[in-house]
Symmetry: C2
Subunit: 336 residues, 2 copies
DNA sequence: CGTGGCGTTCACAACGTTGTAGTCTCCTCT
DNA sequence: AGAGGAGACTACAACGTTGTGAACGCCACG
């Protein structure tokens, strides 16, 4: 187990501060001393104590990522992307799960554990506009997902409205007119569900198709199980439909399963499109058409923005930014 | 931004050490002072600086989790379970991805970032027995997954051989005798792939079914894509088979997809069983029979064992332990 | 040969917390 | 009433690092 900078200094025959200078690549260290110190570091297997460094310098090299839960494929893949992006920039990631629960989300924002991180990437589900005041934490913060706060907070997200509209137009483009929606959230306007529903309605309006409440299935978390359940409700209602726009791929996969059990052919009877482009959609039967929302781009941009915020801490702040990723319709068999 | 223990002390009119005592629930603090301090803490919104605490006490309240990648559903769900278990015990989790790459795994073990954590849960893929010597790190370590090291390291895992044998016996039990395997690793003995193949062979032996190399598909990472590819190779080889034992669910889902494209009925023509019991298997068509390896139990046990090791640090060490979770066959439509 | 300047090194003081070793007060027991 | 002890609080020294400023040695220049 390592030892301290002092041990290295003793072995190398220099002051401990010189060791610190070597470790931090400070200028004005002669090559000879540098080599001597490096050798001592090597010999002792010294690694700096990050707690001490963090205490002294105020930087820990750790960023936090708060997501609803990793069991949801979208967030698992987002976490994967974030960890990669952070690692490429010399940071590590501490993950908190909120379960999408409002109280837990607030707790994460206020937890002393935040002190351990230099900044936070936060993907809220439960928090709404009313909580904006609660976001005045000192830790640099970048929001992922929907713009729920008006406050002065950076925000990196996908083009929900436009992408949902494009997905719906894709269905209309293959001749569908009675398009069911799975995954709406009652009364929501500015969350993912609300925005995607808006995109859906825009596409309908543009095509002159009337909007019908009976085609909308409201569900809770965007799990497979809820997709299945929403689909069952629509089938049970007896309403006529020839396509499904699921608000994410997991809902779509759950829904497809139920459709097939009910004897509906996909895409012959019902075309299905999802959202997120998680890996699974490629291997389902039929493979799932979806929207690639630019997840990797979101992760990288978010980490970059957070790093900028961390860097400017103490100095004057740039105004908050709103950044959007590129999306892309991925047409597969379920809408062929 | 918060402020320090000193600010609280000044406001409450006590010494800063008394504040520390209140924060840490030390005995010998009168109710009156405690209340006064609590009020001051509340008023200032004070939260302790964890770096300082960690520096002084040597504990950070952070544990590391190193997995191949979160995009693999099994590891995402494992991470979910670990984070939950850790949170319930007052710890947070810092996640590193190794990609299953030997060099990256070694790097994680030697990184100074380890200093930031009190201990590490490590799920190696690339490291082999030869690397045992490298495991003599000072950080408490608990291995997840296979017993790759002989060294004195705790190890929590599933009953790979027994569970694979049970899965194979389940296929035999529904009348299959020519059982293909997808996901083997060439020459591997003590990794998951090797152990599960051993279980498969045991079941065959017990039933008097000869082992045939042509039924074994060797693949790389246990992704859906590789499951599909392995299945395609077996189909292309023209070998006769009436069941598939996939070494995990993702491989199984990829394989099912290919089987169905090739016109094979599941389970009529080919019965399929996977391993891991990830959520997706419930909603595929047909739903996927699998082995529930006791993932949640593994996560909780591992966190508990790690906490014990952290606690005994400095004191004398208990001998390393080998802990196994309970498994269970989950029969669904794919083997009905 | 003295002086200024530069490159190099070092001593010291933080950062915010906890552990140790007190000090002081007040209560209880004989 | 005095000794003893427990309870409540406090002062001080760490933990290992980095920033600041000062000291050192050496060279070039006048």
């Amino acid at each position: 187990m390592a030892g301290t900078i002092h041990d290295v200094a003793r072995l190398a025959g220099v002051s401990f501060k010189t060791v610190s200078n070597v470790v931090n690549d400070h200028p004005h260290v002669s090559d000879a001393t540098r080599a001597k110190v490096q050798a001592a570091i090597e010999q002792l297997g010294y690694t700096p104590n990050l707690s001490a460094r963090s205490l002294r310098s105020g930087r820990s090299g750790v960023i936090g990522l708060a997501v609803p839960e990793l069991s949801l494929a979208y967030f698992a893949q987002l976490a994967d992307d974030v960890i990669r992006a952070a690692e490429a920039r010399g940071l590590v990631v501490l993950i908190e799960q909120t379960g999408g629960d409002r109280a837990r989300e607030l707790e994460v924002l206020r937890s002393p554990r935040l002190h351990l991180t230099d900044g936070l990437l936060f993907s809220p589900l439960g928090l709404g506009i009313d909580d904006a005041a609660l976001v005045d934490i000192d830790t640099p913060l970048v929001l992922l997902g929907e713009r729920i706060f008006n406050g002065p907070v950076d925000h990196v997200t996908m083009q929900n409205v436009e992408a949902a509209r494009a997905a719906t137009e894709h269905l209309i483009g293959v001749g569908r007119r009675r398009i069911a929606v799975i995954g709406a959230h009652e009364g929501e306007v500015i969350g993912s569900a609300g925005l995607r529903l808006t995109g859906y309605r825009q596409a309908l309006d543009a095509a002159g198709i009337p909007f019908t409440e009976e085609l909308i299935a409201y569900v809770g978390l965007w799990h497979r199980a809820n997709g299945a359940e929403g689909m069952r409700r629509i089938l049970a209602s007896g309403v006529d439909f020839d396509a499904v726009f699921a608000m994410n791929d997991e809902l779509a996969l759950g829904a497809m399963r139920v459709l097939q059990e009910a004897g509906r052919q996909i895409p012959a009877d019902v075309a299905v499109i999802g959202f997120d482009d998680v890996d699974e959609g490629q291997y389902s039967l039929p493979s799932l058409s979806t929207v690639d929302p630019g997840r990797t781009e979101i992760a990288e941009t978010a980490v970059d923005v957070l790093i900028q915020r961390i860097a400017e801490k103490g100095g004057q702040r740039q105004p908050p930014r709103e950044l959007l990723s590129q999306f892309r319709i991925v047409a597969r068999e379920s809408t062929a």
